[in-house]
C-alpha cells in the first residue's frame, strides 16, 4: 500500500489535533478549579480573529498572537466575573461568551476589512510557518516522486514530526507541563483542591477567588494559542467566520473522555484530530476498502464520537466535585 497517504493523514492529524489539545488543556485548568467552561469555543474564535487581524495590520504574527491572548483574557475575565465574583451560572456565562464571540468577530471583521467577515490573506511573516526540525528534510523542496524514494523513517520524521508551526510543538510541551504543575507543585495541589472542595481551601486560609481566577486566566491563554493555531499557522492564512466550527465543544468532550487528566487528554485529542483528518480524505476508504463513504458521514464522525463519549459509553467519568457551583461561605 501507499505510505504517502498514511503519512499525510498522520501529518494532518497532528495539525488538527493541536487546537483541540490546547483548548482541552484550557478546559482542564478551568474545570479542575471548579469552573465549567462552555466558552472555550468563543475564546478560541475571538483569539483567532484578533491574531489574524492584527497580524495582517501590523505585519507581525507575534503582535497578532499577543492581541489574541489579550482578547481571550478579556473573555476569561468576563467569565470569571460572572461565575466567581457574582456567583452566576457558569453554563449561561459560557454560552453568552460564545454568542458574543460568534457575532462580534464577524461584525468587526466586516467593519475593518470589508471582506465578508474574513480577514485578508496572510503572507509570510504574518503567520507561523512550518519549522524544519534538525535532521529533517524540508519536504516542500521535494517532488512527490522524490519523496517516495526516501527511507520511510526519514519521511515519517520529516513530514509527521517535523514541519509544523511553533504552536504545535508548544502544545506538545504544555501536556507534560500541565501534568507537572497539577501534581508536583503547590499551585497544582491547591487548584485541584479548589475544584473538589473549596471549603477545604478556604478554611486552610487560601483565597478561593484568587485561585479560580488564576485557573480561568490560564484557560484564556491556552484558548488563545488554540485560536492562533487555527487562523495564523500554516497552512491557515487568516480568519474566516465561525472557523472554530464546534472545536471548543469537541475539546470539552475530549476532556470528559480523558477524565480531566493531561496525558489522556493528549490521546483523546489525537483521536479526534485523526477523525477530522479523515474527513478530508474520503478517497482513502475507496483505495483501502473499495468503499465509497459519503463525505457528510465522515464530517459527522467527530461529533458522533462526541455523542458516544458523552452518553457514557467509555466508562464513568467523575467530574471535579465542586464543578459548576459557585462557592458560598456557609452561614
Amino acid at each position: 500500500m501507499d505510505w504517502t497517504t498514511v503519512i499525510l493523514l498522520l501529518d494532518s492529524t497532528i495539525r488538527t489535533a493541536t487546537p483541540l489539545l490546547l483548548a482541552c488543556l484550557a478546559g482542564l485548568f478551568s474545570e479542575r478549579a471548579g469552573i465549567f467552561d462552555i466558552g472555550l469555543e468563543g475564546k478560541m474564535l475571538v483569539a483567532a480573529f484578533l491574531s489574524a487581524a492584527f497580524a495582517s495590520v501590523t505585519g507581525s504574527v507575534w503582535l497578532g498572537l499577543l492581541m489574541g491572548v489579550a482578547g481571550s483574557l478579556v473573555l476569561s475575565a468576563i467569565h470569571g466575573l460572572a461565575s466567581i465574583t457574582f456567583r452566576g451560572n457558569q453554563l449561561i456565562s459560557g454560552v453568552a461568551i460564545n454568542f458574543l464571540a460568534a457575532g462580534l468577530t464577524v461584525v468587526v471583521a466586516q467593519d475593518w476589512f470589508a471582506e465578508g467577515g474574513r480577514t485578508p490573506q496572510l503572507g509570510d511573516g504574518e503567520r507561523f510557518s512550518g519549522i524544519v526540525l534538525p535532521g529533517a528534510l524540508d519536504l516542500r523542496t521535494f517532488t512527490i516522486a522524490e519523496q517516495r524514494d526516501l527511507p520511510l523513517l526519514q519521511r515519517f520524521y520529516s513530514d509527521v514530526i517535523s514541519g509544523h508551526s511553533i504552536l504545535v510543538y508548544l502544545a506538545a510541551l504544555v501536556v507534560p507541563l500541565t501534568w507537572w504543575v497539577l501534581y508536583r507543585t503547590r499551585f497544582g495541589l491547591r487548584l485541584r483542591a479548589v475544584g473538589e472542595n473549596p471549603a477545604a481551601v478556604d478554611t486552610a486560609g487560601i483565597s478561593v477567588t484568587r485561585l479560580r481566577f488564576a485557573a480561568v486566566g490560564i484557560a484564556g491563554v491556552l484558548c488563545a494559542l488554540a485560536g492562533a493555531q487555527l487562523a495564523v499557522a500554516e497552512p491557515a492564512a487568516g480568519f474566516t467566520r465561525d472557523m472554530t466550527a464546534g472545536r471548543g465543544y469537541i475539546a470539552l468532550a475530549a476532556l470528559i473522555f480523558a477524565k480531566w487528566r493531561p496525558y489522556p487528554a493528549l490521546g483523546a485529542c489525537l483521536l479526534f484530530g485523526f477523525f477530522q483528518a479523515l474527513e478530508a480524505r474520503p478517497d482513502l476508504f475507496v483505495t483501502l476498502f473499495n468503499l465509497r463513504v459519503p463525505s457528510a458521514l465522515l464530517s459527522a464522525l467527530p461529533y458522533i464520537l462526541t455523542v458516544i463519549i458523552l452518553a457514557g459509553f467509555v466508562g464513568r467519568a467523575i467530574p471535579p466535585r465542586a464543578g459548576g457551583e459557585p462557592y458560598v461561605k456557609e452561614r
Binding site: 501534581y183 508536583r184 507543585t185 503547590r186 499551585f187 497544582g188 495541589l189 491547591r190 485541584r192 483542591a193 473538589e196 472542595n197 471549603a199 477545604a200 481551601v201 478556604d202 478554611t203 486552610a204 486560609g205 487560601i206 466535585r321 461561605k329 452561614r331
Partner: protein
Amino acid sequence: MAVASQAQHQSPETIPAIELRGISKAFGPVQANKDISIRVMPGTIHGIIGENGAGKSTLMSILYGFYHADAGEIFINGQRATITDSQAAIRAGIGMVFQHFKLVENFTVLENIILGAEDSGLLRPSLARARRELRQLADEYELDVNPDAVIEEIGVGFQQRVEILKALYRKADILILDEPTGVLTPPEADHLFRILHNLREQGKTIILITHKLREIMEITDTVSVMRRGEMTATVATRDTSPPQLAELMVGRKVLLRVDKKPAKPGRHVLEVENLRVVDAKGVERLKGVSFSLRQGEILGLAGVAGNGQSELLEVLGGTMRATGAVRMNGQPLDLSGRQDARARREVGIGHVPEDRQQAGLILDFAAWENIALGYHHRDTYSKGLLMDQAAMRADTVAKMGRFDVRPPNPLLAAKNFSGGNQQKIVVAREIEARPDLLLIGQPTRGVDIGAIEFIHKQIVALRDQGKAILLVSVELDEILSLSDRIAVMFDGRIMGERVASQSNANELGLLMAGVTGEAA
C-alpha cells in the same frame, strides 16, 4: 474524677489561653452573639453547650476568622489578637475541626494535611516533612492514620483524625472541635476522647462544642452554657449536673427521662418473617429478619449505623424491594416493589425517614406543602381535581400549633426552619395521620433537648392510643428510654430481643458489637 483532678495539678495559670470580651455579632435582624465573654484556661478541656442556633458555632467561627465580630475583643495568651481570616487564626495557634469535615475527598491524607501549609512551591519536600511529622504525632497522641490512604476510602473516625492532625501540623495549641461525636460510633467516640485526654496532657487547650450532656460530663473541666446568643453560665464541670445544665440550656426544667406508663400491648399489627434484601452491589443487607409488633407497643431497633436498620425501614416504608413475608393487620404486603410508599400509607403505615432533609422533606417547598406531601391526594386536601390549598394551609397552621413549630409560618420554606423544627414538621405530618404503624428513624438526630422531650412525648402518646411504633435510633439512650421491647441488629440480623425495663446499655452494647449468647 481522675479527669478533673489532673487539671487541678497543673500550675495555677492565671493567663487564659483564650479570652473573649464582649463579643457581639448580628446577621441582619438576628443577634447570633450578644456581649459574650469567656475565659478558657490553658491545658484544659472547655465545653460549650447550647441548643442549635444558640450561637456556639458563630462564636467559634469568629474565633477562627470566618466571621468578623461587630464588637468585642479577642485575647490569645494575654495578647490582644485581631483575627481577620483563617490564616491569622492558624498563625495565632488556633486549629478548628468542623462538624462537616473540610477535607478533599479524593486526596491522600498527606495531601490534605499539607494543603495550605506547604513549605515551598514544589510539593516533594513538604510531603516528606509531613510524613515524618505525622509519624511523630501518631506516636504521641494515638492518632494513627495511613498517610497514603485516600480520604474517601477511610472511615469517618479516621477522617476526623486527619482534621485533628491538620491542626497539629500547623502547630495549633488551641483546638476547637464542633460537635465531634455526631458522626462517630460509640467506640470511635471513646477513641476520640482518649486522643483529647492525650492532647490535654501535652498542654493543649481544647474547646469542645456539643449539645450532648453526657460528653460534657465525661470529658470537660469547665463548661459554658449558651442560650439564644447569650452566655448564661460558666461552671466547673464537677460542680454541675446534667439536669442543671439542661435547665440552663433550655431556660426551663427539662425531663431527661421519658415519663411513660407500662405498655398494654394488644393484637399483632406487624409480622415480619425472614426478610432479605440484596443491594445494588450484590451485598446482602438483611439476612433473614423476623419479628412482630403489637398495638400499643414501641419496639426499638438498636444497632450501630449500617447494620440493616435503614434497609428494614425502607422495605416497610415501600421504597426498597425485599424477599420474605410481611403481614400488616393480617394482610400480606407486596414486597416486590410494585407497592410504593403511598400504597403503604393506605394500609396504615406512617414513615418518618431517618434523613429528614433527603427523604422527609422537600427543603425548597413551603411548610404547608411539606405537611400535605404524601397525603395531598386525600379528600380533606382536595377540591375535585384541584388541591385545596386553603385547607392545606389551615391544617398546617393547626399542626404547627399542636407541635409547637417555630416560627408558626406555613409559607416559610422547609430549609429555613431549624433542624428540630424541621423534624417536628415531619413528625406532625406522620403522627397526625394516625397510622396503625409508625416507622420512625432517628427521631431526634440533631434536634435540641427541648424538642427531643416534645417529640418523645408525642411518640409515647401515639403508643398510648393503641398504635404500634417501630423506632430506629443510633442513640442507645433514646432506645432504652422510649422502647418497650428492644431488638438489636448486627450485620443484617437481629441478634437478640430484650425487654427494655430489664436491660441496660452494657448488655445492648455487647449485642450491638455482635456478641451473642444468653450470657450477654
